[in-house]
């Protein structure tokens, strides 16, 4: 199947309310950037899905058939963390799957809209020429929608997949696994579920404003919504250069400049955080060496400044030896920063300790262009919504130097950003930490 495209630039003033409204009206997917520098980055929106791929191999052949010079997106979609067992040797992982949303869903959209943050008066639009029948969007009406009224709402806490006791016990277990030589590090998370009366549209706007977001997502597929406020890049491919930017290490920001600087310096001198980042850098180098030449650590460490936290990360790049999406994904998936090291053993231990699947959480969401360029995030700090039910995870990397209590409290702090954006209070024993 060969798909063509027609692109044009339109003078239309836009804001995020418009982009998110289009997601809502046309079952769309919006990849957004909303950092403190409001002119930085661009937003990519696909509306009116006309084709769906639920496995990466048929997607692969479709991408190959349609390769061209165009930099415009061809598909937008995700791979769930739980898909890991389908991409590895059989028998290594258990049958842990959370079936709420499709594990792999890549959609081709009738229209792609690119909105540059540097110019809020112009949109670039692409309409695909599709060689089959589909229900088309009326081109004159695309932008004629008023934003949904914000009615407010409330959220009610339901549960955490691990109690505080269980979480702290699991931190101890991971430390035992480290001492016995099984792993060096594992990422332990817990899932928080709740009910909300907020509309997904309003949730998306509130979450967008909750932080500086480089790799944000607001996507709708039927009754399922993904709202991601991820700061982390899983992989970017530009002209056959692959870059991955794992994050490890977190310190709180402060309104007091002196404290803020002190926190940053403490982070930059933390042996624990630097070691954690170093091992993930070595792991990502490994994964990239499977499919790349000239693998290089570009910078180590780099400081990321978000509204409420500092992070450390690193850029690792390499020159791709393959253009096959499935091959690239199999080499890198799942991300090292959200699984552990060595990765396979760490994922097995995560299955044992987290008890439930992660679903899409810590999977990847992104787009692939006609020309083979792509960009994918790691779905952390991400909310999933289905008919008023919401869920999100919070967690952290556990090393030998981890303290169970502080690791648990860190999950409370990490959840806090989402919680306050959606007016949710974690009930039960965590509560005392939230009010501290």
């Amino acid at each position: 199947m060969k798909i063509g495209l027609n692109s044009h630039t339109q003078k239309i003033s836009w804001d995020f309310e418009l982009l998110f409204t289009l997601v809502e009206k046309y079952d769309g997917a919006c990849l957004f950037t909303s950092t403190d520098d409001r002119s930085y980055g661009k937003n990519i929106l696909g509306i009116n899905p006309v084709m769906t791929f639920n496995d990466i191999f048929s997607l692969d052949s479709f991408l190959k058939e349609n390769i061209s010079n165009s930099e415009f997106p061809l598909v937008i979609g995700h791979i769930a963390y739980d898909h890991k067992d389908r991409l590895e040797e059989k028998g290594l992982f258990g049958n842990v799957h959370e079936d709420l949303m499709p594990e792999v869903e890549f959609r081709v959209f009738e229209y792609y809209i690119i909105a540059d943050n540097s110019d809020h008066s112009v949109l670039r639009t692409v309409k695909l020429d599709l060689p089959f029948k589909y229900i088309a969007v009326d081109p004159d009406k695309i932008f004629n929608h008023s934003a949904e009224e914000l009615k407010g709402g409330s959220s009610k806490y339901h549960s955490s997949s691990l109690t505080r006791f269980e979480f702290e016990k699991n931190v101890e277990k991971i430390r035992d696994y480290i001492l016995s030589g099984d792993i060096y590090q594992a990422n332990l998370t817990r899932k928080i579920t709740a009910e909300t009366t907020f509309s997904p549209f309003e949730l998306a706007l509130r979450l967008k404003d909750s932080n500086s977001i480089e790799f944000g997502v607001f996507a709708k597929s039927g009754e399922n919504y993904v709202i991601s406020t991820s700061p982390e890049r899983f992989m970017k491919i530009e002209n056959s250069i692959l870059t991955s930017s794992p994050i490890k290490g977190t310190a709180p920001r402060s309104d007091d400049a002196e404290t803020d600087l002190y926190n940053l310096e403490t982070l930059l001198n933390s042996k624990k955080e630097l070691a954690e980042l170093a091992m993930i850098v070595d792991l990502i180098r490994n994964d990239m060496n499977k499919i790349c030449t000239e693998v290089k650590v570009e910078n180590f460490p780099i400081v990321m400044r978000l509204k409420n936290v500092y992070h450390l990360y690193s850029d690792i790049s390499g020159r791709l030896r393959t253009s096959s999406f499935s091959e690239i994904t199999r080499a890198l998936f799942p991300g090292g920063s959200i699984s552990g090291c060595p990765k396979i053993r760490a994922c097995q231990i995560i299955e044992e300790l987290e008890k439930t699947g992660r679903g899409l959480y810590t999977g990847n969401f992104g787009y692939i262009s006609f020309n083979g360029n792509m960009d994918f995030n790691i779905m952390i700090r991400t909310l999933f919504y289905n008919k008023g039910s919401i869920s999100f995870n919070a967690g952290g990397g556990i090393t030998l130097l981890s303290d169970p209590e502080s690791e648990f409290i860190e999950t409370v702090h990490k959840a806090k950003n989402i919680c306050s954006a959606i007016d949710l209070e974690e009930v039960w024993e965590e509560k005392s930490f939230l009010t501290e």
Partner: protein
């Protein structure tokens, strides 16, 4: 030369593969996982054993391969981390939990000036990723059970490398392939030159 790189389901194996390709010019490096029985029929001039999770006894087909082919055919063997621990364990040294586990940090290492360390500074830094290691080696002991101890961690005196006194077997406890290790390529090149030259 054909190098077989046995992968203990590790996450650093392909860094080692890239390093071997850099440092053994023109060699063909094949990666096989440690459950893969096809290794017994594999044509090989050198076996490199990756780091990996768990203990030296939990390394799949490695022991059988070592007994059936590596020792009788005197095939050069290089073990990194778990791969070194296998060598130690196989020759009867005690491998157990150590008192100073380190994961993802570089430590200072001092070597004895031997041939494996040609052109490597006497003190160099290398990444450690281990909770287990060779234990119960008193200070001043330079060899045991036919294995020579050729480098030590500066801070603790722990053994950081082994060389077999008669057979072409060596191992490093630290990670030559880590981006935190300064002299990794030099060490691998030395191993290839010393043990594999006549095979290439």
């Amino acid at each position: 030369m054909k190098i077989l790189l046995l992968d203990n389901y590790d996450s650093f194996t392909y860094n080692l593969k890239a390093q071997l390709e850099r440092c053994s010019y023109g060699s063909e490096v094949t990666v096989k996982r440690n459950r893969d029985a096809s290794v017994f029929g594999q044509e090989l001039d050198c076996l490199v054993v990756s780091p990996g999770p768990m203990t030296w006894r939990e390394t799949g087909v490695l022991k059988e391969l070592f007994v059936k082919r590596i020792v009788p055919e005197k095939i050069p063997y290089l073990g990194i981390c778990l791969g070194m621990q296998f060598l130690a364990g196989y020759y009867g040294l005690k491998v157990d939990r150590i008192s100073n586990p380190v994961h993802g940090s570089a430590v200072e290492i001092i070597h004895d000036g031997g041939r494996l360390f040609k052109n490597i500074p006497v003190t160099f830094t290398a990444a450690r990723y281990n909770s287990l290691g060779i234990v119960s080696i008193g200070p001043g002991i330079k060899e045991m059970n036919g294995l020579a101890f050729t480098s030590y961690e500066k801070k603790t005196g722990n053994v950081m490398s082994l060389e077999h006194k008669e057979l072409p077997f060596a191992g490093f406890q630290f990670h030559t392939e880590s981006f935190l290790t300064n002299s990794g390529d030099g060490l691998i090149s030395n191993f290839m030159e010393l043990y594999c030259e006549d095979r290439s």
